[in-house]
Symmetry: C2
Subunit: 332 residues, 2 copies
DNA sequence: GTTGGCACTCGGTAGCATCGAGTGCCAACC
DNA sequence: GGTTGGCACTCGATGCTACCGAGTGCCAAC
């Protein structure tokens, strides 16, 4: 692909992203980066169409980029920080003010990202399966109800209520807590071995019940997903059917999780149109970034917009928020 | 309003809910509950239009119910349990299987309600301001980090992290926990008085920090809102602008909370069209029910659909889910 | 009071001409 | 030989007109 063709393709993508109208050779010829006549542009466009980068809705219309065309455009983007200083400030301020439970923070992050990009945003919370236990505590609620509070290495605080056959005294809870802490803290949640007998029946009964609850966590708690800015979907498409299809997908959290994972697994951070296999999202692109706690990747954030999206801006926003979120979670 | 006019109005509402088309006198005359000729129906319709129950989009079109028309219809509904046995079973099974944290349960409830009614569903979580403290516990995470776990009377488990200037030993945490429990448990969160000095400096320092975090909870944690079935909004309207407006409102949680509160405060459980003052929801109706924990109303659930919604079914579903949710939360 | 009859209204649809942005192709040009 | 202006052609969008039919209001008869 020679430079002139690339320039024309870029011009088509950029103009189409702005106008949502098929682009004719005349417009492109007027573009500052393309200093040739409409006729020459037309010749090049025919080639670009043959190569699959452009597509003509009908004979007498202009051209529209294909998924392949967007892909070329995205790959040719320089990762220049194209975010305005107002936006950068907004992100900084957000994370400076952030506080409270991790769930609320992730939830608010999804809204931040939606606000920055004007597309729907998705934040996938840390899954329990890779986390290890940082602290465990039994708290008596009522005579026969005990709350198990577990702090995980990924920052999540999980809790689970136990219902006992017999009453448990505070000292017994304290003993069981110590026993559990001694044997379980530091172990990954996914393969938590039952703590050995302590010799005391009551302690062992409590410990076993708590252990069972803890070991069940990875299965019991599906990945937490926060979706922000769903209303933006309705702005991106004017076919109400498309909007509905996209919203349905966004409600199916496991699909969203799978989609983000998939993109990251393939080593990408942008998935365009049909590249990801989710059929109702054929007209959508996804920009993704992972985030980390203590250097370990635990979750992902992303924005979902129409294929004709502002890639540069979206990529910059997602990357920045991902970095800042990692920092905020690691510090806290 | 004589019985025949009421029957005609009901027929118009029911037919319009099904077809979304303006209803002509001919259709109504064919309705089994209306045994008169189209001409008679027309005469009655003129009266109903004068009285503000019906509205004619243009001269040569059929009639459509106004908000006032829907209101009459809703008020004349008998509260007969119009839910199919499949749906009732689905609700029972849902609450039988329900487990885990209250937040997850409320979240899943919003999806249940959306699934039952085919409209967007909203669940407003218990607010902290009216709750009292049922249990408090300090848990050491790291040498200088302490987690405050508070169990509230409404079933919510709140947690908050303290960062200390000095290291705190486990015994000190235990002392502070006992001190806090003795003085704060049972008090409403809204006016938590600082526990009196215990004589021990470390204990008091911990207790004060924890007390501050607890007292800040009602302000720090805005009402939790769970919205399910947003995709249904796109099914209810075919103007994409309307869809967008409704979705925007659903994202503004404080508006949703205010709306539900408002409806319940006025002693209603249905708000139709412009009855609630939220302008972008002028084409929407809301069906609401409160739910309780231990006999005290702590939150609300609702569905939001187009004014031409299946009121009877929606009201039955919301009422049933509200009752069952109250039971589930009170038992657990 | 109810009903059948009838002239009238008016949105929706179909058919048709027109317009114009955009194309492909070709011959001329540098 | 690549580039360009010219030109005939395509085809969706727009606007106009005619027509259809569901539905109305009114009136006279029952």
């Amino acid at each position: 692909m020679d430079e002139r063709k690339a320039a024309i393709l870029r011009a088509v993508v950029e103009t189409y992203v702005e106008t949502a109208q098929p682009i004719g050779s005349g417009h492109i010829a007027r573009h500052p980066d393309v200093a040739v006549s409409p006729a020459t542009v037309r010749n090049e466009m025919v080639a670009l169409e043959h190569e699959g980068f452009l597509y003509q809705p009908h004979t007498s219309a202009g051209r529209v980029p294909t998924d392949k065309g967007y892909r070329f455009y995205v790959d040719s983007l320089t990762p220049a920080g194209s975010l305005g200083s107002i936006e950068r400030q907004r992100v900084s301020r957000f994370f400076a003010d952030a506080h409270g439970a991790i769930e609320r923070m992730l939830h608010d992050t999804s809204r931040l990202l939606a606000g920055l990009t004007d597309y729907a945003a998705v934040v996938v919370g840390p899954g329990s399966e890779s986390a290890s236990l940082r602290s465990v505590q039994l708290v008596g609620l009522a005579p026969r109800h005990v709350l198990v509070v577990a702090v995980l290495s990924n920052g999540v605080v999980e809790r689970s209520t136990l219902e006992l056959a017999d009453e448990a005294l505070d000292e017994q809870l304290a003993l069981a807590t110590a026993h559990l802490s001694a044997h379980l803290v530091g172990s990954p949640l996914a393969d938590l071995v039952e703590p050995p007998s302590s010799g005391d029946t009551v302690t062992d009964g409590l410990a076993t019940a708590a252990w069972r609850a803890l070991a069940a966590l990875p299965r019991a708690e599906p990945d937490t997903v926060f979706v922000g800015g769903t209303a933006r979907v309705a702005e991106s498409f004017d076919a109400v059917d498309t909007v509905r299809g996209v919203l349905v997908i966004l409600e199916q959290q496991y699909v969203v999780v799978g989609l983000l994972r998939d993109v990251l697994d393939r080593g990408l951070n942008v998935s365009i149109g049909t590249e990801h296999g989710v059929e109702p999202l054929a007209e959508c692109s996804v920009v993704v970034a992972p985030y980390e706690v203590d250097g370990e990747s635990v979750g992902a954030i992303g924005v979902l917009g129409p294929t004709r999206m502002h890639y540069q801006q979206a990529m910059a926003a997602v990357a920045l928020v991902g970095r800042q979120l990692s920092r905020a979670l690691t510090e806290g």
